[in-house]
Each structure stands twice: as C-alpha cells, then as structure tokens.
Symmetry: D2
Subunit: 231 residues, 4 copies
Amino acid sequence: MKKIRTPFFIVNPKSYLYGEESLQLALVADKLAEKYGIDIFYTAPFTDLANIKSHTKYIKITAQHMDPLVPGRGMGYILPESLKAAGAEAVFLNHAEHSLTLTNLVKTIKRAKELDIITIVCADCLEEAIAIAKLGPDILLCEPTALIGTGKTSSSEYMIETTTKIKEIDKNILVMQASGITTGEDVYKVIVNGADGSGATSGILNAPDKGKKLEEMIQAIVKATNENMKY
Amino acid sequence: MKKIRTPFFIVNPKSYLYGEESLQLALVADKLAEKYGIDIFYTAPFTDLANIKSHTKYIKITAQHMDPLVPGRGMGYILPESLKAAGAEAVFLNHAEHSLTLTNLVKTIKRAKELDIITIVCADCLEEAIAIAKLGPDILLCEPTALIGTGKTSSSEYMIETTTKIKEIDKNILVMQASGITTGEDVYKVIVNGADGSGATSGILNAPDKGKKLEEMIQAIVKATNENMKY
Amino acid sequence: MKKIRTPFFIVNPKSYLYGEESLQLALVADKLAEKYGIDIFYTAPFTDLANIKSHTKYIKITAQHMDPLVPGRGMGYILPESLKAAGAEAVFLNHAEHSLTLTNLVKTIKRAKELDIITIVCADCLEEAIAIAKLGPDILLCEPTALIGTGKTSSSEYMIETTTKIKEIDKNILVMQASGITTGEDVYKVIVNGADGSGATSGILNAPDKGKKLEEMIQAIVKATNENMKY
Amino acid sequence: MKKIRTPFFIVNPKSYLYGEESLQLALVADKLAEKYGIDIFYTAPFTDLANIKSHTKYIKITAQHMDPLVPGRGMGYILPESLKAAGAEAVFLNHAEHSLTLTNLVKTIKRAKELDIITIVCADCLEEAIAIAKLGPDILLCEPTALIGTGKTSSSEYMIETTTKIKEIDKNILVMQASGITTGEDVYKVIVNGADGSGATSGILNAPDKGKKLEEMIQAIVKATNENMKY
C-alpha cells in the first residue's frame, strides 16, 4: 500500500488541458511538490500520462478513470495495467461526470488494489459516501454535485459531518473536500475543518496565472498544517 | 482529408497488449509498412499512443475509441484533441465491444472531421452498415459480431454484398472486411473479393511468432494487389 | 403493416402524467380522434397502457420506449411482446431523453416490424435523421434537441429541408415535426409546410385546460388538411 | 414501512412470461399465498402489473426495476409513482441483468422510501452486498452472478457468511438467498441456513407443471419455518 502524506492536494484539469498545456502546469505542480514537500496528485488525459511522468519527479500521476477489465478484449476501455505501465500512481473513480455501476466500482477498486494504484473515489451525497466507505477506497471525495464548478464551497458543518461519518466507518480512509475551491483561503478552511486533502479544477484554470494560483493553494495547505499541529 | 492507400491493413491488439509489448509489435509493423509500402494502422491503449508515435514513422497511430466532447469538463472521457496531440491519425468508433448511441456517433464523426482524424466505424450487420454509410465514415468495417474471435471468416457472398451495398451509398467509403482473419490466405481472399482493407487481432496475437504472422498477412496484401491489378 | 392516416397527431405526456390523470387525457383524445376522424397517438407510462387501451377505441396506444429483447431474461427491460399484449400499437425509439446505441436501434426496429408495432424514431439533427431513414422507420421525428420544451418551433426552412431530405431517401417514411408546439397555429404551420404529422408535450400539459388545448390542435390539423387538399 | 412476514418467497418470471401466461401463474401464486399464509412477491413486466393486481389479493405485486425520476420528463423511464398507481408494492433494483450506477441506486432507494415501496436490492458479491447494506434496503439478495440460471445453489458456508455479515451492518435488512433454486429441498436448505427468504425463476419456469413446482417450494418454506421454530 502506498503511503500518502497528508494534507495532500489534487490538481484536476479534467479535459480542459491536454498536450503541451497539461505538461506545463504539471511542471509547475512538480516544482511546488518539491519546494513545499506536499503530495500533489495531478490528473491528465490518458494520452498525456506517460509523457508527464517522464518529465516530473514529485507529483503523483493520476488517471481520470479506469475500467475493471483485465488484459484481453475491451476495445476502447481503460485497462488498469496500461495506466500502471504509463506511470500512473492513482486513479479517480465514480466522478460525478463518470458514474460507475456499483458492480463495476467494486471490481475496479479490487483491480486497483491488485496493482497498487491509489483510488480516489467520489460520492455526491453522504449516503453514497457511506456506502463507498465500506469498499475501502484510499481517498474518498465527498462533493455535492450541485456545487461542482460553482465556486461555492461546502459549509463547515457539512465538511465536519461527512469527514466524521466516513472515519467512523473506516479510519484509514483519507477524506477530501473540494467543492468550489477558488482561493488559498478556501483550501485553508477545508484543512482546518479536518479534511485530509483538497483540490481544484476551475479555481486554478480560471485564474489569470495558473501557477501562481496553485502556489497560493499549496501555501494554504502548509499554513493549515502548521495550524493543525499546534493542537 | 487524409489520403489512405489501399489495400490497407489494421493491426488491432485491443487491450491484449500494452506498454513494452505493444511498442514491440508496433516497431515490427512500422518496418513492414516501410518495406512493403502498405498503409498499416496500429491500435494501442490511449496511454501508449504518444510513445509509439515517437518511435515509429510509417504506421498510422490509431485510437480504439473517442468521445464527442470538446475541451472542458468530461472527466475520464476521451477528448479528440488529446488523441491528435498524441499523434493519433485514426480512431475506431462503434466497435462491437464499445457501442455508441447513434446521437454520439454522429457527433463524434463530426469531431473527427474537424480534427482531420480518420474514422474507422464498425457495423455488426448490413442494416447497420447502410445507416452508418450515410454518416460519411472514412472506413467502414462490416463484421458480423457473431464471428469476432472465432477464426471463421465471412463468406465471399457476404463480403461482396456488403462491399457493393456500401459503395452504392457512398463510393468514397473504404470497406474493410476482417472477421476471423488468421492467415495470409484469409487476407488474400478478402482483398480479391473487393475489400479495400483487412485486419486482425487474435489471428496475430495467437501466432507463435507475431511478427512473422503479420508479415505473412502483409505479403498477402501485396499479392492480392498485384492480382487485382491484372484485371 | 399498419396504415396510418395523415396528417396525424401525437399526444406525448412523457412521465408528467400517470394513472388516473393519464387516463383522463386519453379519454379526451379518444373522443377527439372519433369526432375529427384523425389518427391520434397517445403515449403513457408502461404500467398505464393496458388500462388506457381497455377504456378507449380510437387512439393508438403508444409506448415511450422498448428494448430489443425476446421473451427470456432481461430483468427490468421492456419486452416488445409485453407491449403488444397490453394493446400498444406504436412505440417511440431513440428519443433525446433515451438515446439508443445504433446497434440496438437496428435490432429494436426489426423486432417492431416482426410484431407489427409502428415505430416513431427520433433524430436530433438532420445527419442523424438521414441515417435513421435508411432503417425504415414508420415515422421519423426530426426535432432539434435544443428546442425541446422551449416553446420555440423550428423554422419553415428547417422543416421543409428535413422533410424533403428524408422523403428522398425513403418516400414511405412519414415525417413528423413537433418542436415547441404550443398552439393550433403552430400545428397548422407544421402541416402546411409538408409534415405528415405533429405532436406536443408541454404545449398541452401547461395549458389551463388540457382538453381544450388539444382540441385546438386537432382542429388545426383538420384546417391544414383542407388547405393542403386545395392544391 | 410495510411489514414483511418471513420467511417470504419471490416468484420472478423476468421477461419469460407476459400477458395471459404471467397472469395465470400469478393466480396460482395468489392461491398459495392465501392457503399457506406466506408472503409471496410476484414480478411481471411493467405492462402487466395493474392487471395482475386487479385479479389477485394476497401476492405482493413487484416491479423488475424503477428509475429515480420524479413526474416530468424522462421519456421511456420507469416512474416510481406510475408503479405505485398500478398497485406495485415492491421493486427489484440492481439486478445482475440491470446494474445501476451507485449514484442512481442511492436516489432510487430514497424514492422508494418516499413512496413506501419495498426495495429488493441485488448484489453479486459480498463486498457489494456490504456497501448496499449501508443504504438501508428492505431486502438484500446476495446472488453470485456466476450461478444465475445454472441450477447450482450457493454453499451453506456462503449463505451463512453473507447473511451474518449483512445483519451485522443492519439487523433490519431481510436477507434473501436464491441462487439455483430448483426444488423444494433447495428452498428448505436456504431457510434453515438462516435466510429470511428465497425465490426462483428458471427453477419454476422449466418445471413441467409450474404451479405444482411453486407449491412444492412454498411447502418447503412452511416446513423450514416449523423446523426453525423448534429451536
């Protein structure tokens, strides 16, 4: 099992960035991961993973999805072994934009464990998060679908409740909160409210200077960590 | 519009090969494409496309699927622009193992045309092939699903009928026949029966020496071409 | 093959109405079908079809979807034979809210022909309509998805172009235009522009008196028919 | 919340029976439910539910699936309110032949609770069953997909382990075991191994006399109940 340092941060450019642009932001993330000693996960289109891996050293290369298939048929599906071979260390599953059947989610988490790939599993409400918690994901992201892309963050109460409920079921699961993160302040709030990690998409991509915005968020992770360690 | 030399050949290892193994067979295909002057399409998992592209010169890098999305959201889906950036020149659509809704098939073919990506669209019966022919694919593969992986080829009558019917609708469409191709003889039969191309998966992968089997098939393409030119 | 009298009208309450409410509107439609001698198709949830059939004589009971399965497995899918047994005479396929894979669309149209069920197949753009036309549907509904539920009708140019293109491929196909129909005037416009039929959902359901609104639309069918017959 | 008497039995003819044939077996089931005082759930195609309800008094009318939609759009989907209006008291969800996304499973169970519809939720392995148990289904059917239709029953160890694990998570959930039930003896074995209910499809449908086979199974329920009460 891979060890994840907390609090971590996930940069998730979805399908907004690809090719050279995706690589450029990955290089920034890599420098920040080294400079601040923070675990940064970086997602990219499947086609970009190997190239980003070969140009970076500190970020965790993360796929946006994978399927439960094994080497063989499966034309056009995402073979877990192909992600591993490309250098991916982690994978998102069940994102609101890519729901999985429960049956496939169970199988895909099993395949990830076989290949030692970190699973970041998404839930869009607390009931779903609780069911997923029983499946032993590494990271559980509890993000109300209605808030995705809105720039509105979850309330502190929501964050504390979901984190607590998930940890009660399985204390080894890392809980991530990431709705509407647009500033370092948002990231700070998430971490001091007890989350193990945060992340952003549009909050970074819409900034005039993506690299600077990302550094602001990573610095907030550091600040919140120091804050938390006082207690 | 890209010009495709006919008869062409498609090597489609699906999800059987990935990483180093996929690259090795691609290198063989690349040498054969150069040696015999034949257009060879080579499919690979999305993660492998860029790497294979950077190690080859003659084969046409081919993706196994893509989605109709544009840069933006679309977590875990296959962005056409990401394929293009990775060096892909062609894409399979609507394979029997990855059926598309008609609505998405229409949209995805449009996206491919925008990006000048060659479309290889699959049909599993003649009725479906006829409908697809109206959508203007570059290559239409009419493969009875029941024969996939069986080592049984379609009958000459079936091949001639489907090729004729498709060309009647749009004479620019290249017709591919590829059911149960396991020998050079099978490939030869397909081409002399009027198909513009052929291809194989298990026929190559199950051979004791994949490269040798592939060369046997490419030589059959050459032989059939010479045969056809006599008339 | 069932004979459909044109111009026809389709009342499609989708999942807005069910049970008693659905039956009440069906009874109104039945009276209007008798009174004006117009073929009226009436859709309802699967559970309501048999009951509506047993209380009506003139409307054509229409299912909102069916699957290509044959009697056997297929838990929770819509068996064509079960629709037929319930008295359904027609079925919608490939509605924008229920896209079918092309493979299943081909199979389902075949099953409908076997059972002599009228197919009303939807397309959301002209390219899709043209592909569907090759599959031999009884009625083809070419409704730009963007207009559904907006109260905006397609332009006369759009209606004439789609109708012409579809008839060129197969003159036996009846073409329906139904985007944004909210008044008798809208229905009239559709029919004088050459469509074989029209229909509505929200245009009827949002009216203060659904029955009265429906009669307004049926009267417009009659008026347009008389108008067309003059020429 | 509806009270379910245990042990119960589920007759699930899937899409094998429809119309008159489905009604005939339902009538037999109804008589047996009355005669033996056993809760019998009876599934049928959506189109048949209302008619079966109107001809029976004791069986629980059960739908094979439903969708999470609310009255409104949703062309061709299964509106929960339409099932309720037709007299359905229960619904299968996530059957191996009709997998649901986890997100939709959560929503659909909520909708069922709102309408007081009993949920019979299927899992195809223990991990999946455990996740589902957190969602509060009324009945949880843990049926290894590989055994469906084979006539092979689960081992006693498997049955006892799954029942125990599910009850540990939520003791209110009724656990059903139903793989490969073909004889009264199979049913008896399931109930004495601690399950709250059993059921069959092909075990009944393949019998020369379906009604007699069903009575054999119901009698086994009675026998096992008496057996269990001794301890």
